[in-house]
Amino acid sequence: MATILFFIAAVGAIGGAVGVVLMRNPFYSVLALVTHLVSLALLFLLLQAQFVAAAQVVVYAGAVMVLYVFVVAYVGGGEEPTTSTGGSSLRTIAIVFATVLFIELAIAILGTGLHAIDTRGPTVSGEFGAPRRIGELLLTRYLLAFELSSFLLLIAAVGAVLLARRRRGMDDDPATVSVHDVFHMQIPAGLGSQSETVGARQGDRELDESDAEVEETVAPGAHRGEGS
């Protein structure tokens, strides 16, 4: 059963990936990526990473892709010309590189002396990869990474806002205003979802000052997003 699921998921992941690369229309590429992500989530599940799989579907396939779709729609990613000024030789080079890289990575993976790689891995309890276990790790061993991730999200949001913000004298396309505003609204949403996803499962008992700081700093970002 697991084998079959694996193959289905693997084919989905690879197919999705290939689709991303080959689809001429960015919109379809996004859709292909969604396929890929969902398949990947399945693979994660097979590897007993339940929480990550869930996050994958919710955050990635859900939130981030929505963002994508909006931008594609805004920018109007039309069909991309096949021939580029860079010359088509790059296409060949790309294929060669990708192949070589794959072979090298395959050698690395298959040629290793680690025997564990030829197993399904040790037996683990159902707890492994469960939200509880991950939450525990995030709040103990990886507390710093966790906090820094939240700050990273904040600053990325700020950055995106200031980049995409409309400015006097520079923005001469009033028709885009609405989409633009939506785009801005979207960032805190994405941010919120991420932190909520992570934070909700920890329960609010464990919140410490750093978390408070995250909460606090989210606000101005969001505020600016709305204000501009």
Binding site: G86, L90, I93, A94, F97, L101, E104, G111
Partner: protein, 669 residues
């Protein structure tokens, strides 16, 4: 006054003269400079005489004195003292040099009186005398070389005295360079000797030479050969002689002093001075003798065909020095030095007389243009004849005795020295021939226009002063014996100088007459050469033979000359026609200049040009500079071309790098 003080004063006088004249050059007139210069040299002569007498006062085995003023350079096992070495030989040379120099200075005061560079002239001339005296009195190899080079420099300055003449400057540089070659020879010779003796001091070297060196030891022979190179270059011996004829570009008194009487005999002095070495390195000495012989013959033949009055005398000088070199190389020291002395007298005299003639001709030097000057200038004629007789070794003139003594001593060596002996007599014939060719052509015959003018009491003035060598119009800004040039007939100073020399050329033989009638010279020099292994004695038969042969040959030469140039004036032209090849060969001076030009000058010049035009451009700038910058530039443009702005290329290169790195690591595992 002690011997050493007197000796140092010999050096100090001309040096003081030089300094005074050159430092005061703006203040003093040429005339004053001439007086200062002459007095300085005269004083030197006086001190030389004093030193001579002091030396004679000393016991015979203590007649070699070294004295040092200060340590000049002493380090690393080399000790150079500012020191002199006084022995009969150096005093003898000092006497000759300062004596003749005094007379020539005197002559110059008149001869150069109208020249704009008179002050400069006397400064140079005094400097020359200082250098020459330094040369002969040097107490070690180092100072010898210094004097050696200084006379070369003085010679250079005086040859190109009229420095706007390109011929003069060319001759100057030629003389200088060949002299430097001689210096180099001397230095190298010194090195070879120093390698074994570890001293530069003469006294120590000579004292230890026989202990250190085995006969004909290679290093010593090589060293002596290098010394000979120095001697040859200075004394204008084949093949280093080509500068001497050109050196006649200098004022005539200069030719007289430097290029006849003193400097050019330095080679003779050198060999005599180094006799303890040469007598061990007999091979080297033999080479010197052979070259001397070759020179005396070659120069003699060239002298026969030259038409420039000064050059004829110059070749004659070469030839006579050939005799001396031959003599001292064959251990005939006294003969060689005796001839050196008499030659100094009569050759100086001849040049002075020639100067007088040139004055009369308005600067013209070609004997083709001269004729019948006998009546116009009787004093000059008389002195010229005296000099000519002495040169062609006519009894009882000084040259007769000295040349005879010289050849006699060589003959006494026997063996292959007979060749030298015979060659000497052949040379004697040539000497008489070219000397009298000169005299007959200049003084005999119908007077030329200039002579006629002079007979009328008026000195000839050319319309434009031209360079006798190439006919170029002179740039008279800087002087020359200009319109007011003086000839011997008119100037007391010149007459005194020439007269004194004429007397000396006549009677100087008395110092060393045959059959040991008088032996002043050999007695005086004996302490120097006493240790010489070659000793002469007896053989009065040979001496008699030589005396007679000498006389016969001289007479024959004079008579032949008379026949060719006086009795049958066309003979010369006919001979020229018949032996045109030979004549051409001789007129071109045996093609020595051409050979040197072809073998040495041109290759060097070519190397220089090649260096400048090709090597510098291609290798130094091309390969080194251009190559490096080229590689850098090329790689720069390559790198920048890769930086083409295409984002995807950048990503590609990044990933390419990664694949390569992975590949490397895969190979590592």
């Amino acid at each position: 006054m002690s011997l050493t003080t007197a000796s140092w004063l010999i050096l100090a006088c001309p040096l003081a003269g030089t300094l005074i004249i050159s430092l005061l050059f703006r203040v003093i007139s040429g005339r004053v400079a001439g007086i200062i210069g002459t007095l300085a040299i005269g004083a030197a002569f006086v001190f030389a005489v004093i030193a001579f007498m002091k030396l004679q006062d000393r016991p015979e085995n203590a007649r070699a004195v070294s004295d040092s003023l200060w340590t000049y350079a002493k380090t690393a096992g080399v000790d150079v003292q500012m020191g002199i070495y006084i022995d009969p030989l150096s005093i003898f040379m000092a006497l000759v040099v300062s004596g003749v120099s005094t007379l020539i200075h005197l002559y110059s005061t008149a001869y150069m009186a109208s020249d704009k560079g008179e002050v400069r002239y006397f400064a140079y001339l005094n400097f020359f005398v200082f250098s020459m005296l330094l040369l002969v009195m040097a107490g070690n190899f180092f100072l010898l070389i210094v004097g050696w080079a200084f006379v070369g420099a003085a010679s250079y300055m005086l040859i190109s005295f009229w420095y706007r003449r390109t011929t003069a400057t060319k001759a100057g540089i030629k003389a200088f360079v060949i002299n430097v070659l001689g210096d180099v020879g001397l230095v190298l010779g010194t090195y070879f000797i120093f390698r074994h003796t570890h001293t530069l001091d003469f006294a120590q070297t000579f004292a230890s030479a026989s202990k250190i060196f085995s006969p004909n030891e290679t290093d010593l022979v090589i060293g002596c050969l290098f010394l000979l190179v120095g001697a040859f270059a200075k004394s204008a011996q084949v093949p280093f002689h080509t500068w001497l004829p050109d050196a006649m570009e200098g004022p005539t008194p200069v030719s007289s002093l430097i290029h006849a009487a003193t400097m050019v005999t330095a080679g003779v002095y050198l060999i005599a001075r180094m006799h303890p070495l040469f007598q061990i390195a007999t091979t080297a000495a033999d080479v010197g003798a052979v070259v001397g012989l070759a020179t005396l013959l070659i120069a003699g033949t060239i002298g026969l065909v030259m038409t420039d009055i000064k050059r004829v005398i110059a070749y004659s000088t070469m030839s006579q020095i050939g005799y001396m070199i031959m003599a001292v190389s064959s251990a005939a020291y006294v003969g060689g030095l005796f001839h050196l002395m008499t030659h100094a007298f009569f050759k100086a005299l001849l040049f002075m007389a020639a100067g007088s003639v040139i004055g009369a001709m308005g600067g013209e030097q070609s004997i083709e243009k001269m004729r019948g000057l006998r009546k116009a200038m009787p004093f000059t004629f008389a002195t010229f004849v005296v000099g000519g007789l002495a040169l062609s070794a006519m009894i009882p003139f000084a040259g007769y005795f000295s040349k005879d003594d010289l050849l006699f001593e060589i003959g006494q060596r026997g063996g292959w020295y007979w060749i030298l002996y015979a060659g000497g007599y052949i040379g004697a014939f040539l000497t008489a021939l070219y000397t009298w060719r000169l005299i007959f052509r200049v003084f005999w015959g119908d007077p030329c226009p200039e002579a006629v003018e002079l007979e009328g009491g008026h000195l000839h003035h050319p319309e434009a002063h031209t360079n006798p060598a190439n006919g170029e119009v002179e740039d008279t800004d800087i002087g020359f014996p200009g319109p007011e040039h003086v000839i011997a007939e008119r100037s007391i100073a010149m007459k005194v100088a020439m007269g004194t020399l004429a007397v000396l050329a006549t009677i100087a033989g008395v110092v060393q007459l045959p059959y040991n009638i008088t032996d002043g010279l050999s007695n005086f020099l004996d302490p120097v050469f006493a240790d010489s292994p070659v000793q002469f004695g007896g053989h009065t038969d040979l001496e008699t033979f030589g005396l007679i042969l000498s006389l016969v040959i001289a007479a024959a030469g004079i008579l032949t000359a008379h026949r060719i140039w006086v009795v049958k004036p066309g003979t010369s032209a006919r001979l020229q026609e018949r032996f045109s090849g030979l004549h051409g060969f001789l007129v071109n001076k045996w093609y020595f200049d051409e050979a040197i030009e072809f073998l040495i000058v041109r290759p060097f010049a070519w190397c220089g040009r090649f260096g400048q035009q090709t090597f510098e451009r291609i290798v130094v700038n091309g390969v080194f500079v251009g190559g490096a910058t080229g590689v850098t530039r090329a790689s720069s443009s390559a790198v920048r071309a890769a930086q083409n702005g295409f984002l995807r290329y950048y990503a590609a290169l990044l990933l390419f790098g990664v694949t390569i790195v992975i590949f490397y690591f895969l190979l590592q595992s």
